[in-house]
């Protein structure tokens, strides 16, 4: 019996020591952040608008939405992100719009400027408008993960298949940057 207890006790403290060592090693290397928490962030400079954001998110309707950095926008009449290429009549007809769900809305401000806003309930994160804006416009439209919706999975399903590795873990404080103050890409934490 005593032998059994002895084995029991030594095993237990050995394992406890092992766990303590593991934890200590991680802490010693300052690899623990007491107040830290990570969140997922798309680097709009790396994003290639492949369309996987719309399909890979674990949510039914993706947590990735198009976000507009208004201070970069040119407010163009012929918006590269709103209109399909080769559009002749610049109106809000469905035949002219790039957005498949009608989430990108166009509003006349003054001559010759138009404001473009995104209805987030309709946006599915496909990135067609972003692609158009980056190719033919100022690139003020960008795809970003909306943290009110994001589940903050341990490994983002979209990050796993992003072809340009644009989605990385960033500290929570830096997690919702929009282009404009996003001059340099955020130093990414690894996937």
């Amino acid at each position: 019996m005593n032998r059994k207890n002895f084995i029991n006790r030594s095993g237990r403290w050995l394992l406890f020591g092992g766990l303590a060592y593991l934890a200590g090693r991680i802490i010693y290397r300052q690899k623990v952040s007491p107040s830290g928490k990570y969140s997922w962030q798309i680097d709009p400079y790396k994003c290639t608008q492949c369309g996987r954001c719309a399909t890979e998110c674990v949510r039914g309707l993706s947590a990735v939405k198009c976000v507009h950095a208004y201070q970069l926008c040119g407010y163009c009449d012929l918006c590269g992100g709103y209109f399909k290429p080769n559009t002749h009549s610049l109106n809000t007809g469905a035949e002219n719009q790039l957005c498949p769900t009608g989430a990108l809305k166009r509003k006349f401000i003054e001559e010759p400027f138009f404001e473009y806003t995104i209805d987030e309930e309709l946006c599915n994160g496909c990135g067609k408008c972003v692609k158009g804006c980056s190719s033919f416009g100022n690139g003020s439209l960008q795809l970003q993960i909306r943290h009110k919706l994001c589940e903050n999975c341990n490994e983002c399903s979209i990050a796993r298949v992003c072809p340009s590795d644009a989605i990385t873990r960033v500290p929570v404080e830096a997690a919702s940057q929009i282009k404009g103050d996003f001059i340099k890409p955020v130093t990414p934490a690894p996937k």
Binding site: G11, R12, L15, F16, L19, L22, A23, R25, I26, Q30, K31, V32, S33, P34, G36, K37, S39, P44, Y45, T48, C50, V58, A69, Y70, Q71, L72, G74, C76, D77, L78, L90, I109, E110, E111, F113, E115, S134, S135, F136, N138, G139, H147, K148, E151, N152, C153, N154, E155, S157, R160, P163, S164, V172, A175, S176, Q177, I178, A189, P190, K191
Partner: protein, 420 residues
């Protein structure tokens, strides 16, 4: 209006050949009507305080479970706690981050110099293990949402033969080893990816994942806790730590004596109750000792063989890594370079990186896999060897008692035991 449109059109066509990277092609507009540009809202995710609340809840639930199981001997309390866990950790907190997945984060923290593990994740990993060192698998009993949902759906459990149980019991270690390997090489988190129940808790997910989850639950009606027993990698760790627990749930009250009525064995759906074997004829000690020694010698051989096979496997295992996969794809199927539908290759080609560089990176990762697969193979060899060896060790069980490694401290046996 028309003139401006044409100018803009020409401008756009002129700049159409520019790279896709954002450039300020059109100047900042100057508004004359006093319009002010809206500011995009940038909601931040929840802070870390919520996670510490969760940790506190976890601590409380585990402590209560330990108390209910060991001291108070109250099954219903454990049942209530497991319902609570399913609701709180499961549906409310969507089952993420969980201790099962935290293994990967800890491994990543050790392997990747740039990853800093948040404290709460480390605590999620450590707390259930520490608790199991003292109280047994109280985490599994009532705190784990994956376990809770399976546990609540035990309907008509069938008995599984011991040899099958022991054999299937190897797979959690395989899964653990693979999860550690893939996390350490930065390839992916397979535990998170193949978690069957998270889709149900989130109420959405890839359809196949939901189907898998429902299949597991339906299986769980008849084979109790299938994921916990035969797949969960954290369970593999808890199994080991729980064997050395200071206190543990006991079928009969501590001060009493077992009357060998065997009612507890009908109550435990997980076949986690050990039978007494003192009355059995002991095997010939010499023969047994010989077998034991044989195994002792054999185990290093099995470990070495496992390590060698593991090292050979590193090639196909490394394909789980995106970099290696794309590099090999480009080498083996160069015609895919012209395939516009293959996004990974097209994005890589557009990135300007040379195949040489990619192959170099892939080689580095593959080397990591080489080392990791060696270790994995040795580890699996050890597991197989020790599990087989374990069958030869006779521990002189005198009565019906919960197997410390396998018992989840659910408390069903308490209600069945008639001893006061």
């Amino acid at each position: 209006m028309k003139g401006l449109k044409t100018i803009l059109l020409i401008l756009i066509l002129l700049v159409a050949f520019d790279s896709v990277q954002a450039q300020q092609r059109f100047p900042k507009p100057e508004f004359k009507t006093g319009y002010t540009q809206p500011v995009p809202d940038t909601p931040l995710p929840h802070g870390v305080s919520r996670k510490f609340v969760d940790l506190t809840v976890l601590l409380t639930v585990m402590s209560l479970t330990a108390w209910f199981a060991i001291r108070k001997r109250w099954r219903r309390g454990i049942l209530i706690l497991s319902v609570f866990s399913a609701l709180y950790f499961g549906f409310l907190r969507q089952g993420c981050i969980c201790p099962v997945g935290s293994i990967q984060n800890v491994v990543l923290a050790l392997a990747d110099p740039t990853y800093v593990i948040p404290l709460y994740v480390l605590l999620f990993f450590l707390l259930p293990l520490v608790f199991s060192l003292f109280f047994g698998r109280v985490f599994c009993g009532a705190a784990c949402p994956l376990g809770a949902i399976q546990d609540l759906l035990v309907f008509k459990p069938i008995t599984i033969a011991p040899w099958l149980r022991k054999t299937l019991g190897i797979f959690p270690y395989v899964y653990l080893g693979l999860a550690v390997l893939f996390a350490a090489t930065g390839s992916e988190f397979i535990i998170c990816r193949y978690d069957p129940f998270i889709g149900i808790y989130r109420m959405h997910g890839p359809y196949l994942m939901i189907l898998l989850g429902i299949a597991f639950l339906l299986t769980g009606l008849f084979i109790a806790r299938p994921y916990c027993r035969f797949i969960c990698p954290y369970g593999a760790l808890l199994n080991i730590t729980s064997r050395f627990s200071r206190w543990h749930l006991s079928v009969y009250p501590a001060k009493s004596k077992c009357i060998e009525c065997k009612l507890c064995t009908t109550g435990c759906p997980f076949e986690a109750i050990d039978f007494p074997d003192v009355k059995e004829p002991r095997p010939e000690p010499r023969r047994n000792a010989r077998r034991f020694i044989l195994f002792f010698i054999l185990i290093p051989v099995i470990m070495a063989a496992g390590g060698w096979i593991g090292s050979k496997s590193h090639v196909f295992l490394s394909r789980a890594n995106q970099t290696v996969y794309v590099a090999e794809l480009l080498i083996s199927h160069p015609e895919l370079r012209d395939d516009p539908a293959n996004l990974d290759i097209q994005t890589f080609l557009a990135s300007g990186k040379s195949l040489e560089t990619l192959v170099e990176e892939a080689q580095v990762i593959r080397h990591k896999f080489y080392v990791g697969s060696w270790i994995l193979g040795v580890f699996l060899g050890l597991v197989i060897g020790l599990t087989a060896l374990n069958q030869l060790i006779y521990r002189r069980k005198e009565d019906y008692q919960a197997n410390k490694g396998a018992c989840y401290s659910c408390g069903r046996c308490i209600d069945y035991c008639p001893v006061e």
